[in-house]
Subunit: 342 residues, 2 copies
């Protein structure tokens, strides 16, 4: 078998034609310029020699790399693989390739990766870990590189975005808890510099008010990250305040898991003493020790949509800013129960 790389020239020489003929024959958009016979000959030779187009040369020539850069905060957070899969599914279908990097929730690192990918001539970016004010997004905008955020979005209206309806999610959570008779509902808020964190916090305030529940500031604690550890810590703080509560809305499932752990460590049981509700419906959650009630988000579709929109954007740079909102859905399991005092 061939050890050397087979190029257009190899085929051309083999056939005694010009490289441009080969190039034209192999490209469906230009092959109609040639006789069907010629096209067939070239294609056969290409197959026989094991030709594979050199994407680098193509990219250099055309100024498009058929590559999309994807930045996610963290590979280990189970929310992201399905989003990634959605992205890759769609991109593959369109003959695009994705290149992936993680930012560890660090804007500086994100920017470094973006620059690196810019060097690789990516045609656009899908950003899954943006902050509300994010200079790595600004960099894309300033450098005229198409970008879209998926999930976490930026405040400024400068790039396309795929988001989930946090207000609706929070409404479903709050109404579920109210129906169960809960009135003292604590919130472990996510970082406020992330759109999901901020929006859910705002929505929590609104929903309580619109349902006639007075907001008690001492029931709101801040998680410093979307992690189990942060959930434990925040719950510790909540507990230390010695205010009564019968339910906790957590920033996401991981935080909820940490919350339950810390509660139990203090002899407070879920859902008997306190109901806990998460967000995201991470994989296998139904099989956990305490199957979490949570909000399911359409992760695969988020990824697919993001891929679809970024490719559209590449084709139509002047298209109006896209702002796609996906609906989340309450999933009731057994971490929430009727309020004892109700």
């Amino acid at each position: 078998m061939s050890a050397k790389k087979v190029t257009l020239r190899d085929i051309a020489e083999h056939l005694g034609v010009n490289t441009s003929t080969v190039s034209r024959a192999l490209n469906p958009k230009t092959s109609k310029m040639l006789t069907a016979e010629q096209v067939r000959r070239v294609q056969e030779a290409a197959d026989a020699l094991g030709y594979v187009q050199n994407t680098m040369a193509y990219a250099l020539k055309k100024g498009r790399s058929m590559t999309i850069g994807v930045i996610i905060p963290d590979l280990m957070n189970p929310v992201f693989p399905p989003i990634l899969k959605g992205i890759m599914n769609y991109l593959n279908r369109e003959a695009y390739t994705s290149i992936i990097a993680y930012s560890e929730n660090d804007m500086e690192l994100a920017l470094t990766e973006i620059k690196r990918m810019k060097g690789r001539q990516v045609d656009g970016f899908i950003l899954a870990g943006a902050f509300r004010d994010d200079f790595s997004v600004d960099y894309c905008v300033d450098n005229n590189i198409p970008a879209i955020t998926v999930g976490r979005s930026v405040d400024k209206d400068v790039v396309d975005k795929i988001v989930i309806d946090n207000e609706s999610g929070m409404q479903q959570m709050v109404e579920h808890l109210l129906e169960l008779g809960h009135r003292r509902i604590a919130l472990i808020a996510a970082p406020q510099n992330i759109s999901d964190g901020y929006e859910r916090y705002r929505a929590y305030l609104e929903q309580l008010e619109s349902h006639g529940i007075e907001v008690d500031e001492s029931l709101i604690v801040q998680a410093e990250a979307f992690s189990q550890d942060a959930g434990r810590k925040a719950t510790g703080e909540l507990l230390s305040r010695n205010v009564p509560f019968s339910a906790v809305i957590a920033a996401n499932d991981l935080v909820a898991l940490g919350c339950i752990e810390e509660l139990e460590r203090n002899g407070v049981h879920c859902p008997d003493d306190v109901s806990v509700i998460g967000f995201n419906n991470m994989p296998y959650l139904d099989q956990f020790r305490v199957p979490l009630t949570t909000i399911e988000i359409p992760r695969l579709r988020m990824g697919e949509k993001a891929a679809r929109v970024i490719l559209e954007r590449l084709k139509k740079p002047e298209m109006p800013l896209q702002h796609i909102v996906l609906e989340p859905r309450l999933l009731v399991r057994s971490s929430t129960a009727r309020c004892r005092d109700a």
Copy 2:
């Protein structure tokens, strides 16, 4: 800010020097050819103009893309993200980029992806989903593209490999169960065309024999995949045979989870009636309803090693075939208990 791409030439013109001077100044390996002053000037200009090297042009010129292709079976299987992370960590540190594709456990698809990546001039491959006899691996060998398998390996000694010691893993499992008094130990074997499946099956036979337990073929069932669903099905079959058993060794954690589910559906409780043991220690397993006893494998390190070895291979094509074996470790949780009849 700049909308256009900044090239070497832009910097050269801006400074009134030749592009080669700029090229040399920006490359640490050649910058010593120039005066320190010159290097400084160039670097400043590059920063000021926002220069980012065009990796495509570099790759085309050098014939190396600084890219490694990574093929995994499935993004959603929680075993792979940590391996990926290990790979990406190491590769990034060495200024390499990874491009990832999934094969859905389909050799044909894997080959398609490999060809696509070959077109992108990847310098080598890390294959995480190989079969024991795998023509996509052969393709790499035939085409002289460096490749390494991580985890699942091929039978032929043709590429470097990172594996875990399945024999040791099985020994730890069997000895643990024997200590608990189990004698009727069933096996839900993984697909036999995958090295891990085959090796664990062989090791199961050996370990039972070397501990003086007679192998009962009716205690061995075949899972058709490394999935929860396959675990359920296989367990159903095992149950239908109506042979007594007090412990099950599952192909992996997912299969074990499916097994437990099916057992309970039939009124058999874990670990009270039957002990179940998994493999891999997937994330969050300790928090599941039945915290699985399992074998922990060093996934992050597997990824890092694979990345390290493939880069070594690139540097030293003549280096002897690497065969690195990593040790797994038994993690006792509560899906295994003393045998009731013991």
